[in-house]
């Protein structure tokens, strides 16, 4: 299994049924297709970016790979382990950083990280030593490690969330819009830190974003997602060459997205 592909997704489909609120409790349910027969692979050491607007299905796919959601059809495997049949094995190999820095807000970063370390079977002392190093590298003021999370800025909270996702040494890192809401400087710091740490740990990452510049800067390959489908994938340069007219300047990924989907990336997918 060690030589298996870090992430294989085959024909994953996921639909959600939502009750129409305006019709009351007995109203009809409407079905929303969040993912429609999505297939992709992420190779070892690769940072694969899923680029798409809000509601395009990126987080749904990450949740399925994280063993938090069951798909209606298709399958996904992490290093050969099926996410539905072998969730315990998959969980030992992954960790996730989500767009919301979810913590016990009254507890300090140190207390939250100790809790996470124990959940992963790590010694809190050793894990905290590693976490402090990472916090320092990512630009978190380590003197604030014992302050309650609720007293930290959004950027500081997100940096703690990123360290929580990394200090357990996952071999597949699921980064679900980890830099959304950060200021440009923090974004750059986080991007650089992620690049470095993924390389150092020989890890692989699935990175979702709706920031085209970030996808271009950070990702080895990018899958463009729209309305629950991957409409194109490849290295940023390959994607740009798909839509570049002869003699014209190299397009941005934002222009590639518009050309391929007919939409602006800021538009929310109706789902």
């Amino acid at each position: 299994m060690q030589h298996a592909t870090p992430l294989v997704v085959r024909d994953i489909t996921k639909r959600f049924r939502h009750r129409r609120r305006e019709s009351g409790a007995n109203g009809n349910a409407r079905t929303v297709t969040a993912l429609s027969s999505v297939s992709m692979e992420v190779g070892r050491g690769e940072i694969y970016g899923l680029l798409g607007p809000n509601g395009s299905g990126k987080s749904t796919l990450v949740r399925i790979v994280s063993t938090l959601l069951l798909s209606d059809a298709g399958h996904a495997a992490v290093f050969g382990w099926d996410v539905v049949r072998e969730p315990a094995r998959v969980r030992r190999l992954i960790n996730r950083v989500s767009v919301e820095a979810a913590f016990f807000k009254k507890l300090s970063p140190a207390e939250n990280l100790c809790y996470a370390a124990r959940l992963y079977g790590l010694s809190p002392g050793e894990a905290m030593r590693r976490a402090r190093e990472m916090l320092d590298r990512i630009g978190f003021p380590v003197r604030r490690v014992n302050h309650p999370m609720e007293e930290l800025s959004r950027g500081q909270q997100q940096k703690v969330a990123i360290v929580r996702g990394l200090f357990t040494s996952p071999v597949l890192l699921l980064l679900d819009e980890p830099t959304t809401g950060l200021d440009p400087r923090s974004k750059r710091e986080v991007s650089a830190f992620l690049r470095a740490i993924i390389a150092e740990h020989d890890a692989t990452a699935l990175f979702t974003t709706h920031d085209t510049e970030e996808a271009d800067r950070l990702c080895d390959r990018v899958g463009i997602m729209c309305a629950g489908k991957i409409v194109a994938e490849g290295a940023p340069e390959e994607l740009k060459s798909l839509v570049q007219a002869d003699g014209a300047a190299e397009p941005t990924l934002e222009e590639v997205f518009m050309q391929l989907t007919g939409k602006r990336i800021e538009e929310q997918d109706a789902g």
Binding site: T67, R96, F103, R118
Partner: protein, 278 residues
Amino acid sequence: MRRMIATARMKARPVYAFVGRSFSLTKRYWPWEVTWLLYSIAMVLSIGFLAVGLGRVSGAPVPVAKVLVYLLTGSLLWQYLSELFWETSNMISYERWEGTIESTFMAPISRVSHLIGMSLSAACYTGARFVALVGVCLLVFDLDLSKANLPGALAVLAIASVSLVGLGLMAACLPLIYTEKGTQMTSVVEAALLMVSGVYYPIEVLPGWLRFFSRFSPMTYTLHGMRAALLEGAGLRQLWGDVLPLAATAVILVPAGLKIFAWAEAYCKRHGKLKRSG
């Protein structure tokens, strides 16, 4: 040997994670914890004073010492068992409010270890509060425990705790499945237990149709057994009628709670309900 100890420590860490987290939260929320404890003390003492004043209210002689132990047993046990049930069943709600439910559920920890950790954390927290409440009652009231079989009473309490944890695990499915109303639903279960279990009165005063339900509540047997041990000094032979159903419910409810929780988790994963709310 050293390797075995290291492995055991590694396996125990995820279970202890919940106890450590609960301890840290209690420290951080200490003003709230002090307020909550004062509220509980006032509730228990009020029931004690009610027992002491019952003779004056009725105008007839009342065996105050017996009534005091009877009502305080009910009040203290209700504080402990209802809190244990509430803490176990609402651990999931706390995770939803804080938004940590997804990171906890995707951690590489078996669900059994997760739920044992949750239950152990609830038992430590409620056990500490129970000891404080008992201490205050012993200071305020002149309790006649000369006939009491304290080891017997503690044994009943220990078995009841396991049984209530099983019931709490079942109820924990409510906040798991019903993301917005699950917590209120567990309150309904708790209120029903209060009504049918004979916390403040003998179940014989209940109408027949309600008394039918009291036999399904582990609290009914706990209260009956504890009162028999404390008031009459009942030994194991006399307590058997309460211990046996309690042990049976513990043996049934804990695995059933785990099974139902696993089903609820799968349901949530199918319908995308393992997300933050509140």
